[in-house]
């Protein structure tokens, strides 16, 4: 038990460092995400926003540090978490329907070898209706628009019925109506006491969408309630001015062991 990361936090990240081919992508990230918050993770391209989510979910190896879900490692807390990957991370030409994809959110509960039944199909349809595309349930996923595909992913997260939602750029390249629908959905999850973490890149909407904010650029620049964190000074630190020292160290590390 780490005193600085008490177990009441849905997500606590301790000293997390991640490197790809010796090049650090995340550097000593230390965070506490409060329960019931709608948290935005914001930073420039290549700041390691998606990497942070993936490292917390054990999808990529970490160099050091750990992420705790309510004070326990992720493997023990899978049931509490729903993950919405970036839309481009899968092949939307795959021969399945919207309902099939959403039903994948129930696979963990069904367990090995068993097939989905009427109950799961109904759950999937309800989730699709909740995100406003119930009428497209039987459509093959390549025949959906980008916004509709994003809604399918959200519906899959809904059937997981989790406590914490990890979302990787759910607003990327979606139409205005979908963006509105998604934010309403996130707020309604939030109102039911769920914690939502959302990688986001549009600074214009940050203060309207999120009550808690993590400003990230390889390291945590600032983290806290949006009203205190979303300041000109912090943004300058996140986006403006090259972080020369970090860049130099990164380059030096990359060159270790090479002639």
């Amino acid at each position: 038990m780490r005193p600085e990361h008490p177990p009441e936090f849905p997500l606590a990240v301790h000293d997390l460092t991640v490197a790809y081919h010796r090049k650090p992508v995340l550097w000593d990230v230390d965070l506490n995400i409060p329960e019931g918050s709608l948290t935005g993770i914001v930073g420039p391209n290549g700041a390691g926003k998606s990497t942070l989510l993936k490292a917390c979910l054990d999808l990529i190896p970490t160099t050091s540090g750990e992420a705790l879900i309510y004070g326990k490692p992720y493997e023990e807390q899978r049931d509490l978490i729903a993950y919405v990957p970036q839309r481009e991370s899968v092949d939307w030409d795959f021969p399945v329907s919207a309902r099939d994809v959403v039903a994948m959110g129930t696979y963990r509960k069904i367990g090995w070898f068993k097939r989905i039944g009427a109950k799961q199909k109904k759950q999937a349809l309800e989730a699709l209706e909740q995100v406003g595309i119930g009428h497209l349930a039987d459509r093959q996923i390549s025949q959906l628009s980008g916004g509709q595909q994003q809604r399918v992913f959200l519906a899959r997260a809904l059937v997981q019925d989790a406590q914490i939602y990890f979302m990787d750029e759910p607003f990327a390249a979606v139409d205005a109506a979908t963006e509105q629908a998604i934010i309403e959905l996130l707020k309604s999850l939030n109102a039911r006491g769920k914690t939502v973490l959302c990688v986001h890149h549009d600074l214009a909407t940050v203060s309207r969408y999120f009550d808690h904010l993590v400003l990230l650029n390889m390291r945590v620049v600032a983290s806290g309630p949006t009203s205190e964190t979303f300041t000109r000074e912090n943004l300058q630190k996140t986006y403006g001015g090259k972080l020369n020292l970090l860049d130099d160290v990164a380059q030096a590390l990359k060159n270790v062991g090479r002639p």
Partner: protein, 439 residues
């Protein structure tokens, strides 16, 4: 060629070919089923590396068995050898992928060619082992069904039944793995092991198929049926069934034909059969075939041309009359030609079409006149066009001088539902709308 023999072979009535034809048919079905997942996992090339890497194992197994005083050509022994080096090849690809920054295709290319070369060298060397004839080992390269015997048949069919059963058992898990492996891992599914099982299934099919199809062509047996099936359907279950059936048919045809012409390698005939089915599917496939897509495109083009003609006629009527309601008077071809750019021969063709649809009538004077139904249709089309233009101007900030072209591209797809939405959005429900720009 005796047709009676062909019929008997195809219908499994001939005793000496029945076994081979049945075995290869089952092999084709299983390959089609498992190949679907190999394809969806985007690992087709890994399957190719695997099959080529089996060759050294065959040579080594022959040498080892000969040295132990056993028959060097016992099929189970050879297949065990093939499995071992085949899996080694796959592991090597994975290791190269993980430890270096080489791309997948390079890693597979290297492993595939090195193992195959090694295999050829080893086969050459074992030919010099005294007391054992290694003749026939090279049939594993191109495939030959002539040497199959009863005991081989049991081994092959047993393996196929087990692999099919395993695939069906973990259908749901494999689907999840292929569609979204990251999501699968976050949900606690052992994606690494699922990948290992999938490769294991592919290995099993490859190895038992070596004798009949040959290691060079077995990959086509795994990949062609599912790619052909994909042209017909967007539904995974249907695709799996179809792929299984296509694989089985190719195997059945290939084995039968090569059994009749004993100097034709079975592998080649199987692959050619599968390729013909693939070609037919690519052209005619209902879901994604070339021809259905082209026909849909033609249909849309026809619709667009018709709408352009009717709208132009309507706009000319508007331009030449100052008072409403608009009177439906005949207009000349020259006016139509001046009103809008038509490519060569397009206008007469569109007019023929419109006359056939009873939208336009030709007057004895040679002038054109909208029919009653054509007039209604033209008025509706023009109105939709303008609705869409207004929407673009007010909601998408497109300059009125540019809006015509943009509207042109989209309006043909507007359904009744969208038109209603546009009306609500623009608060326009009247039947006549003026053009937002000079026509």
């Amino acid at each position: 060629m005796d047709l009676e023999i062909l019929r008997e072979t195809l219908l499994l009535e001939r005793h000496n070919t029945r076994l081979v034809v049945l075995g290869v048919t089952l092999l084709g079905g299983t390959a089609g089923l498992i190949g679907s997942f190999l394809l969806l996992r985007k690992q087709s090339l890994l399957g190719d590396a695997l099959s080529h890497a089996t060759l050294p194992g065959i040579g080594i197994a022959f040498a080892v068995m000969s040295a132990m005083g056993l028959s060097g050509k016992s099929l189970p022994g050879l297949l065990i050898g093939a499995t071992i080096t085949g899996l080694l090849g796959v592991l090597l690809v994975l290791a190269i992928r993980r430890t270096t920054r080489l791309k997948d295709d390079a890693a597979m290319g290297i492993v595939l060619s090195v193992f195959f070369g090694l295999g050829v060298a080893i086969l050459n060397m074992v030919q010099k082992i005294p007391g054992q004839s290694s003749a026939g080992l090279e049939s594993f390269i191109y495939g030959s069904t002539a040497s199959m015997v009863w005991s081989d048949f049991y081994l092959i069919v047993g393996t196929l039944i087990v692999t099919t059963a395993v695939t069906i058992l973990i259908l749901k898990e494999l689907t999840l793995l292929c569609f979204d492996s990251n999501f699968a891992s976050t949900e606690g599914w052992p994606t690494l092991w699922l990948d290992v099982i999938l490769m294991g299934l592919v290995t099993a099919v490859t190895v038992v198929g070596l004798q009949a199809v040959g290691l060079i062509l077995i990959i086509a047996f795994l990949i062609t049926p599912p790619t052909a099936a994909r042209f017909w359907t967007n539904n995974l279950k249907h695709m799996l069934w179809l792929s299984t059936i296509i694989g089985a048919i190719s195997g059945w045809l290939g084995a039968s034909i090569s059994a009749l012409y004993s100097n034709l390698p079975a592998g080649a005939i199987i692959v050619i059969s599968a390729a013909i089915i693939f070609l037919v599917s690519m052209i005619f496939g209902r879901a994604r075939g070339v021809l259905p897509r082209y026909l849909r495109h033609l249909k849309l083009q026809k619709k667009v041309g018709r709408q352009h003609l009717l709208r132009s006629t309507y706009e000319i009527l508007e331009n030449t009359q100052s008072e409403t309601p608009l009177k439906n008077v005949p207009i000349s071809m020259a006016l139509l030609r001046k009103h809008r750019y038509w490519s060569k021969g397009e206008l007469p063709k569109l007019i023929r079409q419109a006359r056939a649809e009873d939208h336009i009538e030709r007057q004895p004077s040679g002038e054109l006149r909208l029919s009653e139904s054509g007039f209604g249709e033209a008025s509706r089309i023009t109105r939709n066009h303008r609705l869409w233009e207004m929407y673009l101007i007010t909601h998408a900030d497109i300059a009125p001088s540019h809006v015509d072209r943009d509207a042109d591209m989209v309006e043909h797809l507007l359904g009744a539902e969208i038109v209603q939405q546009l009306e609500a959005e623009l608060e326009l429900a009247k039947s006549e709308i003026e053009s937002p720009h000079a026509i």
